[in-house]
Structures are given as C-alpha cells and as structure tokens.
C-alpha cells in the first residue's frame, strides 16, 4: 500500500460562517441533484410514472440523505481517506435498513405505499456523491442543511418529472396521493385529460428519458435567461 495519507481537508468553513442560503439554493435549484448534476438517474426515471410515486421516492431519499449526511459529518475526522467509500456505503445502507424496519413496524400504512421504494435508495448515487463532496469536509450543521436541501431538491425534481409524465401518460395528477399523504390530501388528486388523449409512452421508460431531458433543458434555459453560468453535468465538486 502506497500510503501517502492525504490528510482530510481541514475545512475552511470552520473559520468562516457557512452560507446556508447558498447551500439551500444549491440543493433546491442551482446544483439540483437530478436537473443539474444528473445524479440518481435510476430512481428518477424508474419511480416517476406518477407525481405521487416521485414524491414518495423523493421524500424517502431525503430522509436517508439527511441522516447519512449528519452521521458522516459527525464522524468525518475518524474516517480515513482510504476506507471512506466503504464507510459511506455502510452508513447509507444502514440508514436505509433502519428506515425500512422502523416504517414497517411503526408507520405501517405509509410503509405499504413507500415500502417498494425504500430498498432502491441504496442504489442511488446522489447520497454517496453528497457525502463525498460535502459532508466529508464540512461541519455538522451545514452538512445537515445540505442533506435536507439536496434531498428536498431531489424530491422536487422527481415530483416534477412524475407530474409531467402522469399528466401526459395517464391524464391524472397526484393520483393516489391520499394513500401516501393521508385522506385529507384527496383534494390533490386531479383528473385532467380524458383517457383517449393519454400518451402511453410517457409512463413507459422512454417517457422518463424524454421528460428528464426536457426538464434539464428547461432548467438551463431559465438559468441562461437569468444570466447565470451554466453548471455542467456531473458531480463537479466531487473528485
């Protein structure tokens, strides 16, 4: 082993106050996990056949991202460079299993709806990318905020993709939202288009690629118009 042990980057942010507004803006829009970094494509396409599914997957992912960001930030000085990836994967997998067990036992109604999605979070590379790019280097509180913001940004993007695909493919919006959020959310369940005008392709896999691509373009057009520099795809802040 050629151990030129790179010391963990001792973060500059410890000295200066973390810019929470920046972190939140990054997570929700500027550096959005799906629409800017193009990470987590598997769940973004597979689980977005309806807005409700997208929202459910997004929220479950946000919980796991928040918990794992917090843990990695807490232990960041104890995790060496060489074993960090297995430790991150271990933390994410443990969080997913904990959420899965806890929901099955104590939030069983919700589990019956979301249960399908939860194990899939392990295969999402967005939590891993954020641990590597942010939580590994930053103090606990900014990491917690980053986990929440990135998780919510992910949920937002998945809900948007799901909404477009559902409207065009099934003619409904937020169908079965009351199964996910409770009976008081039945008002969200809309029926917008007649069955005859449904474009089946939109709820099949090609629809996922098309809608995700169009939303990425849409986001960049908005950013261009606002005069922002375009952030190219890929986890640019990761190594």
């Amino acid at each position: 082993m050629t151990a030129t042990t790179t010391p963990l980057p001792q973060v500059a942010a410890t000295a200066q106050q973390a810019d929470y507004g920046r972190i939140v803006r990054d997570g929700l829009w500027d550096n959005n996990g799906v629409l800017a970094m193009l990470l987590g494509m598997c769940p973004s396409m597979a689980m977005t056949t309806s807005a409700t599914n997208g929202l459910g997957m997004g929220l479950a992912t946000a919980v796991v991202m928040t918990a794992s960001s917090l843990l990695v930030a807490v232990f960041r000085r104890h995790i060496t460079q060489q074993v960090r990836i297995p430790v991150y994967i271990l933390i994410i997998a443990a969080m997913v299993t904990l959420v899965d067990l806890a929901m099955n036992a104590w939030m069983h109604e919700l589990y019956k709806v979301l249960g399908l999605f939860i194990p899939l979070i392990v295969s999402n590379c967005l939590p891993l990318a954020r641990l590597e790019a942010f939580a590994a280097k930053e103090p606990v509180l900014p990491s917690l905020v980053d986990g929440i913001a990135m998780g919510l940004g992910f949920a937002l993007a998945l809900t948007a993709i799901g909404a477009v695909r559902e409207i065009l493919g099934s003619g409904t919006l937020f169908a079965d939202a009351s199964l996910l959020l409770g009976p008081s959310f039945r008002f969200m369940e809309l029926h917008l288009l007649p069955a005859s005008s449904n474009v089946l392709m939109m709820i099949l896999p090609p629809g996922g690629f098309l809608v995700t691509g169009l939303l990425v373009v849409g986001k960049r057009m908005v950013d261009l118009r606002a005069g922002k520099a375009i952030q190219m795809g890929g986890a640019h802040s990761a190594e």
């Binding site: 056949t49 309806s50 297995p86 933390i91 443990a94 067990l101 099955n104 036992a105 104590w106 199964l179």
Partner: protein, 210 residues
C-alpha cells in the same frame, strides 16, 4: 515508507472500517429486535385483513387463522389453507397463490366457497411497475374483482386467458404480462381446489398434515 508503518496504516483502516461495521451492525440488530414483534403483529393484521377481503364476514364464525391446513403439492411446495367454518361445516377456503409477473413473483390471496366459486382475489405483494402493472391492486382499480363468482368451468378452461391471448380477461394498457400472470395463477388456484376438494372440505378441525 517502511513496511512497519505500511502495516500500521492497513491495521488502522481495518480497525476504522471494522468498528463502523460493528457499530452499525449492533444498531441494526437492536432495531430489528425492537421492531420484530411489531412487524410480526402488522403482518398478522395484514393477513387477517386480506382474509377478510376474500371471505365475506357472514360466511364464518370461527377464526380462520386457527386450524389451518398445510397441503403439500407434488412439486414439494406447501400451501397453507385457511378455513372458514360455520359450526362444523366448512363454508369457504382461503389460500395464497403465486403468479409470475413482469418483475418477479406476484403473491395473491384467493377465497373459494365450498362449491368452488371464487369469493374474491386480492394481491398481497408484487413488484410490478407502478402506474402500469399495479392496477391489479384493488386500491388502484377494480380489475381484480372481476374474478369473483367465477369457477373452474365458468368460463371454460380455454377462455381463462387475457383478451390478447384469446381469453375473457382484460389486460391493461401497457401491461399484459402482469394480468396474464394473475389470470394463470387464479386458474391454478381453482385447479388446486378441485384436486384437494374432498380433503379440504371434510377434514376434521385442527391440523392435518399429509
């Protein structure tokens, strides 16, 4: 770098990784132990609820979770049969059936009355595509209620198929494999009833192992 420090490095990394594994292993084991009773209770509730959906309430006065029968098929698989009884008469049976869907196994519960007519079929678990194949769930569509009242001879065996294959059952837009699997499973379930009818209906109360 000397071999000694290199080894120490490896040992250190191994210790770090090992202690994280140990720590999270303990946390997971404790949570599992803490949750196990509740998870089992939820599973029993789900089972009772799914039995209640396929066995009409007026049909029985016993607890169908008690006095179940285990029937072993020729291929070695075992089916647990829940029996609805009124007094000493068996009025209905419920058992789990399995079909192969688009994304793996579909587990269903079906209820059959003493004459072999279907009382109801419900999906217990499946991995079908949300928005397409999951219309087999009663929450998301009434397709599955189509089976109620049917029996092995009605419709005839060659019509126990989805329309695309020349049968009587609708497929879903964009999903044919899922309903095809369910239709085949229900048909097999009826064949299971026919093959074991005498034993299932006449066996004395309590356990009966073949």
């Amino acid at each position: 770098m000397t071999a000694a420090t290199g080894n120490r490095g490896v040992t250190r990394h191994a210790l770090i990784l090992g202690s994280f594994c140990l720590g999270f292993g303990v946390v997971l084991a404790l949570t599992e132990r803490l949750a196990a009773a509740d998870i089992a209770a939820r599973a029993t509730e789900d089972r009772l609820a799914s039995l209640a959906q396929v066995l009409p309430a007026g049909l029985y006065d016993n607890n169908p979770l008690q006095g179940t029968l285990a029937v072993r098929a020729a291929d070695g698989s075992e089916t647990t049969v829940y029996r609805a009884r009124k007094g000493d008469t068996v009025t209905g049976l419920a058992y789990e059936i399995r079909g192969s869907g688009y994304a793996g196994e579909i587990r269903l519960m079906m209820g059959v009355d003493a004459q072999g007519r279907i009382l109801g079929v419900r999906v217990l678990a499946h991995k079908e595509t949300p928005g397409l194949g999951d219309k087999i769930e009663v929450k998301k569509g009434d397709w599955i209620t189509r089976f109620t009242g049917l029996s092995l001879g009605a419709p005839p065996a060659e019509r126990w198929k989805v329309r695309k294959d020349g049968g009587d059952f609708d497929q879903f837009t964009g999903a044919t494999i899922t309903p095809r699997g369910v239709v085949a499973a229900v048909h097999r379930g009826l064949a299971f009833f026919a093959a074991n009818k005498d034993r299932l209906l006449t066996a004395a109360s309590g356990e009966m192992k073949p």
